[in-house]
Amino acid sequence: MGISLPHWPPRTVGVLTTVDSDGPHAIPVSAPVRVCHDTVLLSLHQARGSLARIRVRPEVALLVLAAGDVACTARGTAQVVAEQMPGAPDYAAVEIAVHAVDDHRQAAFTVSAGAERSWISDYEQKALALRVQTLRQLAVTRIRCRVCAQGA
């Protein structure tokens, strides 16, 4: 199968890097959803420059450092799969088709945790949970489409 994204905990914060003529731009992204071995879904606010850059240059890298010794960069091509997410019209759903996974794990240590944060806004926390739920449903739809395409 070649490409093999690891599993990461549900509340993981990743770092998404996009590029434009000014060079690379890296931003934190909340709770990227692993769809399968080579696909990731995440939500981006409509005002994010990263979303605008993806539309022009879809090459991206997603760094994930998380509990369970998860340390990798997924490099691939991003596309907007939903301009407005159900219940979150200010957010777009973005799918990354992963072409390569750089494994950063080392024998000298294990990664025991990623970025931790404490929520101040209940509202924003619940809104993120809803967006992640939508992404997970989209992930199931993606798998369902693949199964149907295989005629199974």
Partner: protein, 126 residues
């Protein structure tokens, strides 16, 4: 407490059962009965229980999945449980249940197992 909802849908020719919310002693029987029905109705198609939306599960809930595996084995129905996250995933790990052959990390691995066998499923799981 988030009430338990049970969503049943098709995944190709297989049946996908997605419990939403919290599974415990107060509602485990409902899921157990539904699983028993679906396993009974299934022919050679599989019953896949997808746990990605399950927020909480106690040991009574775990027994539902174990009992489902027993019923499926008796009726020779392919049966897989996949996609446990967070607290539910940790419970499966702590109880050692994650080593069960019918338990897989995600839906993709479940599909691969049904169509290609265990070895490729391990590759898909990463």
């Amino acid at each position: 407490m988030t009430p338990l909802e049970i969503q049943v849908s098709a995944l190709g020719r297989h049946t996908l059962v997605t419990p939403w919310g919290e599974l415990d002693v107060t509602n485990a029987e409902r899921l157990a009965d539904r699983l028993a029905e679906l396993i009974d109705e299934s022919s050679d198609a599989a019953v896949i229980v997808h746990l990605a939306e399950l927020e909480f599960c106690d040991t009574t809930g775990l027994s539902v999945f174990i009992n489902g595996a027993r019923l499926a084995a008796e009726s020779e129905t392919p049966y897989l449980v996949a996609g446990a996250q967070g607290r539910v995933g940790r419970l499966l790990y702590l109880t050692g249940l994650e080593r069960a052959s019918w338990l897989l990390p995600d839906l993709e691995a479940a599909v691969v197992t049904l169509h290609h066998g265990d070895d490729e499923a391990q590759d898909a799981a990463g």
